[in-house]
């Protein structure tokens, strides 16, 4: 790129620049928490939401891992968006995400081996987590890096609070514990159904029911 076009680009950016946290940008951050939630409304990233939520600790780690990958991938793809040919964009996205996930996987393996073992294949499956691919396709490819970062943060928080809520109920009713500490009376016998995949499905169904009757979203 010649310096002339660069200068022109800079000018254009300056012309359209807006405050770092304008109203529009704040909605990028807050919308995914409720009315545009990745799990309950957009139906993305369900696999991990159901599979890792047996207890709070692995769920928290998973939420942090997804946040890291989603925010970084959004920024990287958004920065590269003008250089990626349209036909091979899926493969480019997959490679970027896979490299980020490999880093997260190694960090987890080094610093919290137990949780890494518990999460097993589901760390690797962040690559095909539909939230990541969905946000890259729908947002990062058409927006500037800062906006993409806010969108990534918002969506991963929206994802995090849902899976933490499911994990809270599953661990509490399934084994009477929270973060591995017994909170219910000692005589409480764990409810095996809540620990099983089937229980998670039904719990998520009910959670969606509650959330949608609150914000009035109706599917036809």
């Amino acid at each position: 790129m010649s310096t002339e076009t660069l200068e022109k680009d800079v000018k254009e950016v300056k012309k359209t620049s807006e405050p770092l946290l304008s109203k529009k940008r704040r909605t990028l951050l807050t919308n995914p928490l409720d009315e545009d939630n990745p799990i309950t409304i957009q139906v993305l990233g369900i696999c991990s939401a159901l599979a890792v939520t047996v207890a709070l600790k692995p769920t928290l780690v998973m939420a942090i891992a997804v946040t890291a990958v989603l925010v970084l991938a959004n920024v990287v793809i958004s920065a590269l968006r003008n250089t990626i040919p349209n036909r091979i964009r899926i493969i480019v996205q997959l490679v970027v995400v896979a490299s980020l996930v490999a880093i997260v996987d190694q960090v987890l393996k080094a610093y919290s081996y137990d949780v890494w073992k518990e999460l097993s294949v589901f760390i690797g499956l962040i690559i095909t987590n539909c939230i990541v691919m969905g946000r890259l396709e729908a947002f990062a490819l058409g927006n500037k890096p800062w906006d993409a970062m806010l969108d990534g943060l918002g969506n991963s928080f929206g994802y995090a609070w849902i899976i933490l809520a499911i994990a809270f109920f599953r661990e509490l009713t399934g084994s009477g514990k929270l973060f591995g500490v017994k909170v219910l009376p000692y005589e409480y016998i764990g409810n095996g159904v809540m620990m099983s995949p089937a229980g998670a499905c039904i719990l998520l169904g009910i959670l969606i029911w509650v959330i949608r009757s609150r914000n009035g979203y109706v599917e036809d």
Binding site: T40, V43, L44, G45, I46, C47, L50, A51, I90, I91, L94, V95, A98, S99, V101, A102, D105, Q106, S120, V121, G124, L125, I127, T128, N129, C130, M133, S196, P197, A198, G199, A200, C201, I202, L204, G205, I206, I208, W209, R212, S213, G216, Y217, V218, E219, D220
Partner: protein
């Protein structure tokens, strides 16, 4: 042979991709509104899983595993490329899906029209990558890996077709408004998962060698002669 049948039955019913591991859930929920599209994607998943799992097995055993590169030179025995497994697996899956799409488009336009739109979706279907990521934890032979791939695909197909059938019928039911769509689907999937849990108590038709050995030892405990032999073995 018996072992293969075991893996096949196990990967379809007991370790069903959807009901036991929740893999491929996003596309599972997205395409199960109509029976026809569900069957189309199900077929594509069987095909892609049946081929990419053996491909990934080859990549893992001859490229990534610790000491896998010894077929090039003995000096590479200590090289462990397992860090790269995510990138290699997803690259194989994505490349294969792209290739199939192009081949199908060229050689069979009618199949492309009925299946074509689903193929690109499959690259990001968790069940494909998930199946590949199970390989390092399970010690499969090549043929076993192929059986596992096909079985998992058929399991996914069964799951998606049955959910689509239920959802088509549900169009006539009066579901509470906020529960409509995703909510009630999750509850149905949960109930179906209960059904599939009953396969967990299934006695597999054939036992593998270790189980046969274990049973032989159990029955032979009664006879003193064998006992003496095993004692002698222990003392060695």
């Amino acid at each position: 042979m018996e072992n293969l049948l075991n893996i096949f039955v196990k990967s379809i019913f007991i370790d069903n991709m959807i009901f036991a591991y929740f893999l491929g859930m996003c596309s599972y929920l997205a395409v199960s509104k109509k029976y026809k599209t569900a069957a189309g994607l199900g077929m594509a998943v069987i095909f892609v899983l049946g081929i990419t799992i053996p491909l990934n097995w080859l990549a893992y055993n001859f490229l990534l595993k610790e000491g896998a590169l010894t077929w090039i030179s003995e000096d590479f025995a200590s090289i462990d490329l397992e860090v790269l497994k995510f990138i290699v697996f997803i690259a194989i899956v994505a490349a294969f899906v792209q290739l199939t799409e192009m081949a199908v488009e060229k050689f069979s336009p009618s199949l492309y029209n009925s299946l074509g739109i689903f193929l690109p979706l499959i690259a990001v279907n968790c069940s494909i990558l998930g199946g590949a990521l199970f390989l390092p934890t399970r010690d499969y032979e090549f043929v076993e890996a192929l059986t596992f791939g096909l079985g998992s695909g058929i399991g996914w197909f069964l799951a998606v077709v049955s959910l689509a059938a239920i959802r088509e019928k549900m169009a006539y039911a009066d579901v509470p408004k906020p529960l409509r769509g995703l909510g009630i689907t999750f509850i149905i999937v949960g109930l179906m998962a209960f059904g599939f849990m009953s396969f967990g108590g299934f006695e597999l038709p054939f036992k593998n060698k270790e189980q046969q050995q274990a049973e032989l030892e159990k029955t032979s405990d009664n006879s003193e002669i064998v006992d003496e032999v095993s004692v002698a073995n222990y003392s060695e």
